[in-house]
């Protein structure tokens, strides 16, 4: 992993069209501004990872085990 130090108000580029700027540091929290083209999707990693995990479990569902999944069905 590349590690770079930045001060508040400083930024760095990822490729030619993504700029990441340090806006504010408060205790253990950092506010970061990201300027990127619309087609670049930005997610908090933990949300994305949760979806990955859930998809991996769901993909392995036993195909003969659906009785009673939707109550009143």
């Amino acid at each position: 992993m590349l590690v770079i130090s930045r001060k508040i108000g400083e930024s760095f580029m990822v490729g030619d069209d993504i700029e990441i700027k340090i806006l504010k540091i408060e205790g253990a929290e950092v506010k970061i501004g990201i300027s990127a083209p619309l087609y670049v999707k930005i997610y908090r990693s933990e949300i994305y990872q949760k979806i990955v995990q859930e998809n991996k479990i769901a993909a392995q569902t036993n195909v003969d085990n659906l009785k009673g999944v939707i109550p009143g069905d």
Binding site: A58, A59, T61, V69, I70, G72
Partner: protein, 156 residues
Amino acid sequence: MLYKTKFGDMDINDDQIITFENGIPGFPNLRKFILLARESDNPIHWLVSLENEFVAFPIVNPWIVCVDYSLNLSHLDIQELNIENQSDLNIWAILTIKDDPSQATINLLAPIVVNLKNRKAKQIIQEESNYSVRHLVKDEVEKSKKIIENSKTGSG
């Protein structure tokens, strides 16, 4: 063309294939899927991979489980799927079903959106919503019943 799937060998025409151009989170290399409806599983359907015979997602129309479900498509989603008409859309939520079916959960945070017109699909992430990847199906069904009952008494 013949494909090996979780449901055995399936003869699939190209026009039945749904394409996830960027894959699905956790399965970035899987792009070709079909929707499978088995009468015995209704209302649950299956999103079946044509490229990995071990992958099939049980899916359901989220409004069957959660009557007041809300979905917000971003401009990016609309662009990516070339959505022209809302009526072309097919929305699904993935179910997670382990040993005890009464503990099944539904992923309301990241629904599957299919544009039936061009058969492009995407799992979208509703990051600004309060939904999570794991809502207990029976709780959501219970809540939905109450909402329906209240709306009946409310309308007189």
